[in-house]
Amino acid sequence: MSDQSTPSKNGFFLKANRITKVYSDGTVALKEASLEIRPHEIVGLLGENGAGKTTLTKILSGLLPPTRGRVVSPKGPVRFTSPREALDFGIGMVHQHFALVGTFTAAENVTLSHEQPFTRTRIAETQQQLESLMEQSGLHVPLDVPVEKLAVGEQQRVEILKVLSRNVDLLILDEPTSVLTPLEVDELFTLLRRLKNEGKSIILITHKLKEVGSITDRVVVLRHGEMVGDVRTAEASTERLAQLMVGQALDEKADAVELSTEEIPTKRVQQEIDRSGAGTLHVENLVAKGNTGEIAVNGLSFDVYGGEIFGIAGVEGNGQTELVESLTGLRVPASGTATINGTNILGLDPRQIYRLGVAHIPEDRWELGLVLPFTLAENAILGVHRWEEFRGPLTLLRWGKINQHVRRLMDRFDIQATGPSAPAKSLSGGNQQKLIVGRELAKDPAIIVASQPTRGLDIGAAHYIRQTLLEMRDAGRAILLVSADLDEVLAHADRVGIMYEGRFMDVCTPDELDRERVGMLMGGATGKEGE
């Protein structure tokens, strides 16, 4: 461990002083939040969606100006009007969505980010700088391969290199683990520890309590824009943090699956399901190609029976998207068969498939699930807009009945909005997702294909949606649950298929799996020959 080399007479590197942020639409994102960042420290910034984590870090990294309050360095107040100024000061942020040019190599991407002339010599210089930087930090990335050919974890490392190459002292990472396999997460954490020992400060935004416990030194908890806790990790229990994060009012929801790190609750009502014969959804030797023509789904066969949840776990990008799209008519598979209650569905378009009793909760709610400029009511009939219930002669829409239907949905699914004519883009992420779930379940489906149904939602909304899915299962519906959230799949599925490069590594009940084995299967290693 090196000693205090950073110039910090007062013992801190940067301080956020009673920062308030009010967005132009009147939303108060932060209320007098204060945060002190010291060298040699990893701070976990914990909070639900919309708690103000991202707003705070955006203010620190110069993306947003604070409404009130200021950012203070040991030398006095600082004011960044752009991320570049913050970078020059020594603050760098790695965003959740990478900003990389896919066809460029890592060296080229880093050169590009330096905003200097993009010349051959400059790239070569950067390459050298990166090589020595990789030597120092132990962070290794192939430098001369186009980044689109790299795994997600490697791309993230390129992003980190990009920031480190600017010699930053404070590194801010926004939910860095959401796209990584368990092994990649371990590697990332090793790297972060090493950087910490070199004297850097690190802010880690997360809503996973487990990560907080394993890597951070200090945890700062935000709730509704207010700082509700600033504790040393060693002194904080998981239960306490969870309580801080969701608040007292949500206490009954505090036992939601994400919060329990030790044990996965098995609330499953074990009912016997007859698994002989073909299931409600029967898939055999399904092969589907991805957007670039590569084989994405490679000969999958499985059945989903009524009354069970069949979970598909795996790191994103291993063919889950293509599988779901093939089953819901959005993608034409290359070969294989898929039937729903005996009817072949391959080659049918979405409308015909919905008619067979399929509900589809899509993975991308903004691109696929909703027409954002449409109102709540218009979105609530997407896909069912031609149903007799909503349509009179000459395809006239019965807005009266539609609005009634929407009010029922808002009631039943607890959708917070001003009314049926509120634009969908004005809703929060959780309410948008509830709208989609409500719309799909209102179809009274025989089979539900749910893809990442709780991604990006706060604990309350996620819990509610999971509960709804469990109810549908108990009502005898077949559910295909695809999720990158391993805990979610393991906690709710009756059977799990672990998907890697378009194939199932294993299909079994969650009880037969421990996390290590799942982690290895997700990374493509079979149990026996694993590291």
């Binding site: 639409d25 009147g26 409308r351 696929l368 027409v371 807009h385 006239l396 829409l397």
Partner: protein, 386 residues
């Protein structure tokens, strides 16, 4: 106390913000019109005209009396329809620049009613149907090219405009030509003409065709499942596909409807424009020229909403009608071209996307500048005192 003030203030701000965003589209159009008129005024004063007098003349010439209003409305009649052509297709996510060509085909097709005899009423309807079909036929080809061969509809509709223009000219000069007066086509028979609405003006009953079509389109888009599909496909094609909407179908439908609208526009000009009720070949179809392109400007100012288009078309019709008066106005003869400059400026301003949003940006820059100045003065003060 101060807490209270801030909440009141923020509530007021929020209210003002909501009102502004609600009126946003209309405000943008009005602002664009004002800026366009200002640009025209500046140009006029550069060339030594009195812009105030000129605009008084323009307004008087456009809306100064029943005759003026009638001629403004008469000029608005085809513009409503060609604007709808652009708007319907834009609502379904396509850029249909082909209203001009589709309108030529509709105009020529409506001349064909001279070849058969029908009672009044039926004869007009026959003409409208012919024009609508011709416009739709002309509009559907780019749609087919787009679906089957992936040809950009922008390119193909522009090229089809030229084909239509010379084809229409050829037909007007050689095929449906008046044997006694080779500079014009056969005149529409009395039974097929739209009667004049206000005596002594060129405003005919054809305007009701335009208004009715605008309302039909409004109703279709916002009150039927078909229109719902068109709008969904236009706003988010991926989500539309997910919703079981067949995007090809909505695309074809919008091009057909757009073609019908443009074809009808041609018919309203030929069958509803006294005194000739014919197309003049000389000078390259002067009555029809640019009606399709002007329609795109109307659609933009009308924010691609049928009701907005009705208002915007009357505004543009007024500019056209009043512009003629402006050039004869006393000692201040502003050339007619100035009106087109104003129109051009309006379109340019409209095409600056999200105009209103520019203002927060300007505000932000100004705030940054003030903050920097303040900090700089403070720094110098500190240095001086030190």
């Amino acid at each position: 106390m101060s807490q209270n003030e801030t909440t009141v203030q923020s509530r007021l701000l929020r209210g003002a913000h909501r009102t502004l965003t609600g009126l946003h589209p209309a405000l943008e159009s009005i602002l664009a019109a004002i800026v366009g008129l200002l640009v025209g005024a500046i140009l006029m004063s550069i060339y030594g005209f009195d812009p105030w007098k000129a605009y008084m003349g323009l307004v008087k010439g456009a809306f100064g009396g029943s005759y003026e209003i009638a001629s403004s409305l008469a000029r608005a009649t085809p513009l409503i329809l060609t604007a709808l052509t652009f708007s319907i297709c834009l609502r379904s996510g396509m850029f249909n620049i082909g209203a001009e060509g589709q309108m030529y085909m509709g105009g020529i097709a409506s001349v064909l009613v001279t070849y058969f005899v029908l009672p009044t009423g039926l004869h007009q309807i026959a003409g409208l149907i012919l024009a609508g079909l011709a416009g739709a036929a002309w509009g559907i080809v780019p749609a087919i090219l787009k679906v089957t061969r992936g040809v950009s509809e922008v390119i193909s509709t522009i090229m089809f405009n030229w084909i239509a223009r010379w084809l229409a000219l050829y037909l007007a000069i050689y095929v449906v030509v008046d044997p006694l007066r080779p500079e014009k086509t056969l005149s529409i028979p009395m039974t097929a003409r739209f009667p004049v609405l206000v005596r002594g003006t060129d405003l005919s009953y054809a305007i009701f065709v335009s208004i009715a079509f605008a309302f039909v389109i409004y109703f279709l888009l916002w009150h039927t499942a078909i229109g719902y599909e068109v709008r969904a496909a236009g706003l988010n094609p991926t989500a539309a596909r997910y919703g079981g909407i067949r995007n090809r179908r909505t695309m074809f439908l919008s091009f057909i409807l757009g073609g019908v609208a443009a074809g009808l526009a041609g018919a309203t000009i030929v069958m509803g424009l006294p005194p000739t009720y014919a197309i003049y070949g000389g000078g390259g179809l002067p009555q029809l020229l640019n009606m399709g392109f002007d329609g795109m400007a109307v659609a933009m100012v009308g924010r691609n909403h049928p009701i907005g288009i009705l208002v915007a078309a009357v505004f543009f019709g007024g500019l056209n009608a009043g512009g003629r008066v402006m050039q004869f106005y006393g000692a201040n003869p502003v050339p007619l071209e100035m009106v087109r400059v104003v129109m051009g400026a309006i379109v340019l301003v409209m095409s600056i996307p999200e105009l209103i949003r520019l203002f927060p940006m300007v505000k932000k820059q100004a705030e940054g500048l003030i903050g920097w100045l303040r900090r700089a003065t403070r720094r110098t003060e500190r240095e001086e005192s030190a």
